[in-house]
């Protein structure tokens, strides 16, 4: 087992541990920090897999933009309410039962007894360098790229209308 494999298992264990900590942490800020730890561990997993583009964007977009936004909102909305003290709602028991059932089902689907079918000969991380990825993105998937900009525009307009529309009603 090489040092890369050891680091891969280490980061994967860190991601799962961060996810489990999110379930038991009391304050939302601690949940946010656990989620940031899980996302950074996943970025480490992607880097160990050789998918450096996804690792960089995981850190830049998720940790750098989304989670910083979330941490700011947690600081803005620092109201001491009941959800900080009582962590779990009335769905605790059925949620745990349904979650473990789903996990068993997914594990049965992914573990057919033997390994996955072998990858084709063109496998490897060569396709994940920046240049082939960018060429494929803008030649084969240009329509999706443009639709993404439409989605972002709709999100911006939606966020503004949510703030403005409701803010006029209750001051």
């Amino acid at each position: 087992m090489s040092i890369g494999d050891v680091l891969l298992y280490f980061f994967a264990a860190g991601a799962v541990l961060g996810g489990l900590l999110m379930l038991v942490a009391r304050h939302p800020m601690r949940v946010a920090l656990a989620l940031i730890a899980a996302m950074l561990s996943l970025a480490g997993v992607y880097a160990m897999l050789g998918v450096h583009v996804v690792a960089v964007f995981q850190v830049l977009i998720y940790v750098g933009a989304v989670m910083v936004f979330m941490v700011f909102v947690i600081m803005l909305l620092d109201v001491r309410d009941a959800s900080f003290v009582r962590r779990y709602g009335h769905m605790l028991a059925p949620g745990i039962v349904a979650g473990s059932l789903l996990l068993v089902l997914l594990a049965m689907l992914a573990m057919p007894g033997d390994a996955l079918p072998p990858a084709p000969a063109a496998s490897g991380s060569d396709g994940f360098l920046v240049q082939p990825f960018s060429v494929a993105f803008l030649e084969d998937y240009w329509l999706h790229f443009e639709l993404t900009s439409v989605l972002l525009l709709a999100a911006v307009i939606g966020a503004i209308s949510v703030i403005k529309g409701r803010g006029r009603g209750d001051g």
Partner: protein, 100 residues
């Protein structure tokens, strides 16, 4: 268990943990963050399959999921802030009369 199966197992664990968090937690912001954890699990499985099959479609999908996650959080945070401003709480139990 080879490496792809191990990573799929990790992605399933992350997805199930996120789903469990959405179901059992009471804080609206914590539920949002658990949704982000579910998205991260899906992204890990996409990367695993893309690397296993040696195609680029999975990586392109990962970037689309990144954009959708950013858009989702940009919409969801103002909604949660409006909810918290109306009832002065982040507890979803205060919104039990919502249907559907």
């Amino acid at each position: 268990m080879d490496r792809a199966q191990f990573l799929l197992m990790v992605s399933m664990l992350l997805f199930t943990t996120g789903l469990l968090g959405v179901m059992i937690r009471r804080n609206a912001l914590v539920m949002l963050m658990c949704m982000e954890l579910m998205l991260n699990g899906v992204i890990l499985s996409l990367v695993t399959f893309a690397q296993h099959s040696g195609t680029l479609s999975g990586a392109v999908l990962v970037f689309l999921v990144f954009v959708v996650a950013a858009a989702e959080i940009a919409i969801a945070i103002p909604i949660v802030m409006q909810l918290a401003r109306q009832r002065r709480t982040l507890d979803v139990e205060a919104w039990r009369e919502l249907k559907g």
